[in-house]
Symmetry: C2
Subunit: 340 residues, 2 copies
DNA sequence: TCACCAATCCGAAACGTTTCGGGAAATCTT
DNA sequence: AAGATTTCCCGAAACGTTTCGGATTGGTGA
């Protein structure tokens, strides 16, 4: 592989000047910049990232640590994240290290080790828990990171999040306005912040409508069709107090709900109204639902670009900008929700 | 972060000796080795990988490049691969870099660039094409790599592969022995070596049985339930020459076949026999099929360990062993296949 | 007593890059 | 025409590790 020294010999310039030319510094003439970049292309020069990192501290590599069990919990979402983030980072000339921890070993320890290994510029975190330990560690170590979601209301780090409170509120408010009172929210695991916020929005909608909130129920499950089906089973086996409307945390759960209700001979929306949040997962497109599904929409795919940007700007001195984005999804009313 | 120099000061030893102690060299006393490792643990020392790579050429990082469109084609398989490989490499103290190329840019160029970036020890390649260009590049560059599958009969590189010819042969032979003559193989994309080999095994079974091979059909599709369903539609719409038996390339395709036949009111195995190859994908467990599915089985999960080993041994001088493994799956006859 | 050997240790150089502190020549000010 | 400024350039040091070639012991056999 060609090195700076090779280039400098070939061009009869100092190594210094070649380096500065390639990094587009001010005090090198336009002419030499052209010559240098041309020669670099011809000789197939690529900067040695190890050497760069060693000297300057920048490698352009960011990492994400995911637990294998977490992968199993929400495979589609994580897959979308891995692909989306990796692609967006590649576009920005950065590289993406995915580190899967096997069952049993601690993600926080893994972060600590990776920090010490001296080749990673920053981290990406998805699906934070309340008061997330990984975030705590990275903050205390002063290592840059960006988060999909957030573990507090006013975080001091860059993130991209959906307004999950508003999302829960809108879906619930819609159903309440149609006259529903016994509504069940079937959403992701209770240890996920997004589910907690959505549940809060759900409660808030009851409060604003002046309806006794005890009539609402929240079920926390893994976000798969299978679990959605089981949740419906739980809700409808238990005698008289059946819900008249269901809210699904994503379209996979909604799929499960649709099949479970069909199995029971209950029709949508005549017997039960169903609404959902749509992440835009390619595997379960919302157009495929019959009857068409009333839903809030905010594609996961929209998140990866901003998150990559947030981390990239965070990494570039001297400003170390802290970019924070919250998007509020719109509600689209379709055929799956009707008056009670 | 603590460095070797910090340790050497703290222990009143030379940097050299600390390094040699940590790397378990022969000419350092057992006593100092103990002292050094203890101090390293206490001070939280982690070797700086950039520096190590720069000097010694070893970083412990291996990369895999996947194209985004390929991800879309076989999401479950690729996800399983990413998780499995990452986990297995982590176990061996190595790290796994996943690089997703966005639509349009060339995977081969990406490999070349990564080779030049000076931080990757070797590559993993999955799902090779016949005469794979990535393999050609890495070979010519002398960069170590290991392959899941193989692009030739007797490759000169480390790999782990299923005997896809035998697999296609066994499934077809089974159906032929039950009296079936019009058999359709619905398998992965025509540009994948595994599908080509299976098709060859399919043809070979016809030849050995002395049956006119023109009665068999091979369909190449993306390996999803959706595409499996569509394939059945193609096969059964076209008038009189319907197949009496179907072979599915994996359990996702088999799922599609089951639903498509059910929709048409065709029963398994009375009207149509169905057999499949089972990759052990967690999403579509073979136990869930009704009637139970006759299949060859070889879990993808069994591949990642051997592949990680193959690459790891390949990377360790001086021997640079070339480990090559082929497994032959067994056929389990169940309820989905019967006499014609 | 002396050379010799094994067992431990160490200094210094090197990997390829960035960056600090200057320096020479050309151009501009007065 | 002398100083000030701009423009372009360079040498050398440093990042943290590994490794080469030797150096220092204490002990052994002649």
């Amino acid at each position: 592989m060609a090195t700076l020294k090779d280039l400098s010999k070939h061009l009869d310039l100092s190594v210094t000047q070649v380096s500065r030319a390639l990094n587009d510094h001010a005090d090198v003439s336009e002419d030499t910049k052209k010559r240098v970049t041309k020669a670099a292309r011809e000789l197939g020069y690529t900067a040695n990232i190890s050497a760069r990192k060693l000297k300057s501290g920048r490698s352009g590599i960011v990492a994400m640590v995911v637990a294998a069990e977490e992968e199993r919990e929400m495979p589609d979402v994580l897959l979308a994240g891995v692909i989306g983030l990796s692609a967006e980072l590649s576009k920005r000339g950065m590289q993406f290290v995915l580190h899967v921890t096997t069952d049993g070993d601690d993600p926080v320890a893994t972060h600590r080790k990776l920090c010490g290994s001296g080749l990673i510029d920053g981290f990406l975190i998805v699906n934070p828990a309340p008061n997330d330990a990984r975030i705590g560690l990275l903050r205390s170590l002063g290592v840059p990171f960006a988060v999909h979601g957030r573990d507090a209301d006013q975080p001091d780090y860059p993130y991209f999040d959906v307004d999950n409170h508003a999302l829960g509120f809108k879906l619930t408010e819609h159903l309440l306005s149609l006259g529903h009172r016994r509504i069940a929210l079937i959403d992701g695991p209770a240890h996920a912040v997004f589910a907690i916020r959505r549940a809060a929005g759900f409660q808030a909608a009851y409060a604003v409508a002046g309806v006794e909130p005890a009539q609402g129920r929240v079920l926390n499950v893994e976000m798969t069709a299978q679990k959605g089906e089981e949740a419906v089973a739980t809700l409808f086996e238990v005698g008289g107090d059946r819900p008249t409307a269901l809210i699904a945390g994503n379209t996979m759960i909604a799929t499960g709900i649709y099949t479970a209700l069909a199995k029971r001979g209950l029709s949508i929306p005549d017997d039960v109204s169903v609404v959902a949040h749509d992440d835009g997962l390619p595997r379960v497109p919302i157009q495929d639902f019959r009857p068409s599904l009333t839903a809030t929409t905010s594609p996961l795919a929209d998140a990866w670009g901003p998150i990559a940007d947030a981390l990239a700007t965070r990494l570039t001195p001297p400003d170390r900008e802290c970019r924070q984005v919250i998007v509020t999804p719109e509600l689209s009313v379709r055929a799956s929700s009707a008056t009670c």
